[in-house]
Amino acid sequence: MSTDADTQTGSAATPASSGFDNDNRQAATIGDSARDYLNRLRGGDMGSLPAILGLIFLFIVFASLNDRFLTTYNMANLVIQAGSICVMAMGIVFVLLLGEIDLSAGVAGGACATITALMLIDHDWTWWAATLAGVAVGALIGTAIGSLVSFLGIPSFVVTLAFFLALQAVPLRLIGSGGSLRYDDAVLRGLSIKNVPVTAGWIVAVLIVVGFAALSLWRYRTLSAKGLVHQPIGLVVIRIAVLAAVVLGLTALLNANRAPNPNFTIAGIPWVLPVVIALLLFWTFVLTKTRFGRHLYAVGGNAEAARRAGINVRRIRIMAFVICSSMAALSGLLLASYVGKVSPGSGGGNVLLYAVGAAVIGGTSLFGGRGRAIDGVIGGLVIATIPNGLGLLNQASYINFLVTGGVLLLAASVDAISRRRRSSAGV
């Protein structure tokens, strides 16, 4: 059955595709690439498309219900609120890639933020040393979880559930019930309340666009010169144009004066955004351009095959949990920076489910083997939009839970259905 499908698609793309020597190395035109893309969508390979459609849908709904939603002030707020969700979701992507789950990431973030806050307040550490301490604790937690999962073979669901319960004790013990630690370090708190100078913001935005364009074109030239599989030049140009529009548009939006009070000026990109983008670029590089990233996908796709290929599956598994918990620590710091304090409840509640929801909505599969760092960012924006928009509508908070739960369920259903379609279509 799948053979029939193969020969059909094969003959559709290249009429004389009987020989390997004339295998198709590029989709000849943009039309062909568009058709390829539609075929993949139909076969269940949706990527981030549901998330982008969902984001557009939410924007239309909230914008029509409340005029304040689309103001630049609220958009900047949205970026700051999304920051910590995006960072945690990027970490969650790594464990989801292996088909595992980390239920403890939220409270791990809270525990690490507590450590950082204590280092700042009680020990007068500078911000970067305190941050490193928090991330190191995160890495330690990840090592413990990963070792239990890969050496003892306990399902990650159970291990991380235990950590979810146990780690809540850390801030409670260190801070005390009902207390809270102020979080007012100029740099760390500044991530949420200060902005990149307008000129610097423009320079970085233009550099990103130019860098992306140069890399894409260089890649296109190398691949086409060597006769390797590559995208048509039209598609490359379109991708560059879309990226330029998004980056420059967002920069223009955030660099405009957004102060509600005409006597003040608030302009510039909130510092959170460059942090998220730097992490996104770094992890995208790790996932797509390093052996470690390739091995992560391999273990998620078929752990036995990876083991036979000589990949140290245990090491990969432990590393995934280490990355997840370390990112959770950074996410906890961003959350504390947004709230301005760390309390025993930090990172509890629905922080974790927001992040898992973000990763899944963004297009990372719960079944392992599929996902990208950017999924966490796109999904994080969708998830952050819901409480932001509902907050403006002055809805009771129970609505927020209902809607977020519904969105998570919807995303998981899309994932499950597209997986089923993938296995039947063999994409």
Partner: protein
């Protein structure tokens, strides 16, 4: 002719179960050696010992005329011995190039060297006259059984390996795809590789094999050139351990009682 890979007097037990008894096994360059035997005869165990996945209780491992110490799959791969497993061991979510280089990716200063990997994968597939794959950047999930088997075999020869073991390569394939894979097996041997074909299918064995090694209850019942035996003799060797002059003198299962 000097064997390329040779096991001498190999014994292997799992707990109280003695799976392999003094097994001698040889692979010659440029020849296809068929390893046949009924379920439970010890074929898979022998393959896993050759692959370095299982250790030996006793016996020697020789490669290229020299005795070698083998402690794991990496040692075996370093010798140039590759195993293509029955369940294929490919990752569905990766494409053909990514699968062929899995665990041995080429890197440059800027990370993975996709240019080198794709070029070499393309060359290898072309050198094996593979004619069925649409694009090397196709995900393995979209391939048919025969194509997947082809990719798995191409992965094994990519590393200039000297011995390739194929575990039931045609078990799940249709007629045309079996044809392609058997042709590929023959081409491997014609390139001077030592090929081991593990199969239940006597038609396949008689079509491509040069030698037959039959296992019976963990012992080597016979190791003969394919032209010296008939189809029914091999079936007798597999089911009863002997056939006329060939085979184990006395049925070991009953002898030990």
């Amino acid at each position: 002719m000097e064997p390329l890979l040779e096991l001498r007097g190999v014994n292997k037990s799992f707990g109280v179960v003695h799976v392999l008894h003094d097994v001698d096994f040889a692979v010659y360059p440029g020849q296809v050696t068929a390893l046949v035997g009924d379920n439970g005869a010890g074929k898979s165990t022998l393959v896993k010992i050759i692959a370095g996945i299982y250790g030996r209780d006793s016996g020697d491992y020789h490669f290229d005329g020299k005795q070698v110490e083998v402690h794991g799959p990496r040692d075996v791969a370093a010798l140039g011995v590759e195993v293509v497993y029955q369940d294929l061991a490919l990752c569905d979510n990766l494409d053909i190039v990514e699968n062929m280089f899995l665990g041995r990716e080429e890197t440059s200063r800027f990370g993975l060297d996709e240019v080198t990997m794709e070029t070499r994968a393309r060359e290898t597939l072309a050198s094996l006259s593979v004619r069925t794959v649409k694009s090397v950047r196709q995900s393995v999930a979209s391939l048919s059984g025969g194509q997947r088997q082809t990719v798995a075999i191409a992965k094994a020869v990519l590393w200039n390996s000297k011995v390739v073991l194929l575990d039931e390569p045609t078990a799940a394939l249709g007629v045309a795809q079996t044809r392609q894979v058997l042709d590929l097996v023959r081409r491997l041997a014609d390139r001077g590789l030592g090929v081991v074909l593990i199969s239940h299918n006597m038609t396949d064995v008689f079509e491509v094999a040069d030698r037959i090694t039959a296992l019976y209850l963990g012992r080597v019942a016979a190791d003969v050139p394919v032209k010296d035996v008939t189809h029914s003799q091999v079936v007798e060797l597999i089911t009863a351990g002997r056939s006329g002059d060939l085979g184990i003198a006395e049925n070991p299962a009953t002898a030990s009682v």
